[in-house]
Symmetry: none
Subunit: 222 residues, 2 copies
């Protein structure tokens, strides 16, 4: 009478999958076996377990046995990855560069931007990246204008050719320049080829705050 089984996903498999997704979206964490049973009309936890086993074998879900709510959809990554970068503050010519609060990294949507990881050639560790919003037109020689967002990797040193954010204590000045080490000091080269470099003596103070890895300019106006 009842079509026993065609193949692939049965009615209950689908229901469980659907519930898994919905519950995760709604609640922010996966359901328990009992909750799954309740939602799909299965009265026994063992039957739910039975189906979960099957779904796992089919590769539809991943399970962490023995731990509560250890179920997740295997197929949770359709498009490419993206990651969130905290916006530490504004970068202004006459003020020191803000850096994110040390080792801890918590931030919400208000103070962060999303970047598709595909924009980074090497999928290197980019956990510690942070971003700054440019304030004012003082960085135009770095081809960066007011409102641009610069994504930086924190570092204290730089290789030749890197664009770095530096703080010059003697001039009370923050600037973005290409960095070159030379025999008698450092050369800070503006990105704009029509502008002249700044030479820094070997003993002059120079604080490299980070290496610029990306600049994003949004033209949209809301």
């Amino acid at each position: 009478m009842m079509a026993r089984k065609s193949k692939g996903l049965g009615e209950r498999h689908k229901k469980i999958l659907a519930f898994l997704k919905k519950y995760q979206d709604d609640e922010g964490y996966p359901p328990t076996i009992r909750e799954i049973g309740e939602a799909t009309g299965i009265s026994s936890t063992s039957v739910v377990n039975y189906y979960l086993d099957q779904l796992e074998k089919m590769g539809k879900i991943e399970r962490q046995r023995k731990i509560s709510r250890g179920v997740k959809l295997a197929n949770a990554n359709p498009l490419g990855e993206m990651f969130r970068v905290p916006v530490a503050g504004r970068i202004v010519a006459g003020e020191p560069i803000p850096v994110p609060a040390s080792d801890f990294s918590y931030y919400d949507a208000d103070t962060s931007i999303d970047i598709a990881s595909s924009l980074f050639s090497t999928s290197q560790k980019n956990d510690d990246l942070f971003a700054l919003e440019v304030s004012g037109d003082s960085m135009i020689d770095a081809m960066v204008s007011d409102g641009d967002i610069v994504v930086m990797k924190p570092t204290n040193s730089a290789n030749n050719g890197d664009m770095v954010a530096v703080w010059l204590p003697e001039k009370d000045e923050t600037t973005l320049k290409y960095f070159y080490k030379e025999k008698d000091g450092y050369r800070l080269q503006p990105a704009n080829p029509t502008m002249k470099p700044i030479m820094i003596g070997k003993d002059e103070p120079l604080e490299i705050k980070g290496k610029v890895v990306m600049v994003v300019r949004q033209m949209e106006k809301l």
Copy 2:
């Protein structure tokens, strides 16, 4: 000895928040109280509970009491959408602007870039966006340098203040400028405030190819 934190998030609050996010990202479900304690160096579950209560009062997290792993970040954005933009080609000063093959739109990872939709303030329809890679330094007056990627929305007209990509047939020139309509024609204003605008007479030909909505500069070298 230990400076008692008076205001805001203490060190442990931050650590817990950070761990919550990391664990959820890694595992797909929230951690237990004991796991939080282990990760943050708190040896007692009651202390973890103590901090979770505080974080909940501060509105940083939401808790479902009595249920396992019932913790989630309050403003948990599901790390929103992203979409794929085809790179139609290169934009060169002396050549016409390539445009994507109209409705015929297929493209793969090699010829496209991913943009997080959160970067667009208005979640307007951006199905028809396309991107161009800038070739050469001829666009420096638009604060765009060699290798930059400009994301454009195709259009034939523009509003005042939009940055547009235009083709000037009389000069055989492609350029990116801010667009202003004036009584006797059009004014094409460079982004760099130190440079002078180009005036276009009303009868001179002017082909607006698209409106620039974003510029992305990757400093990474592979």
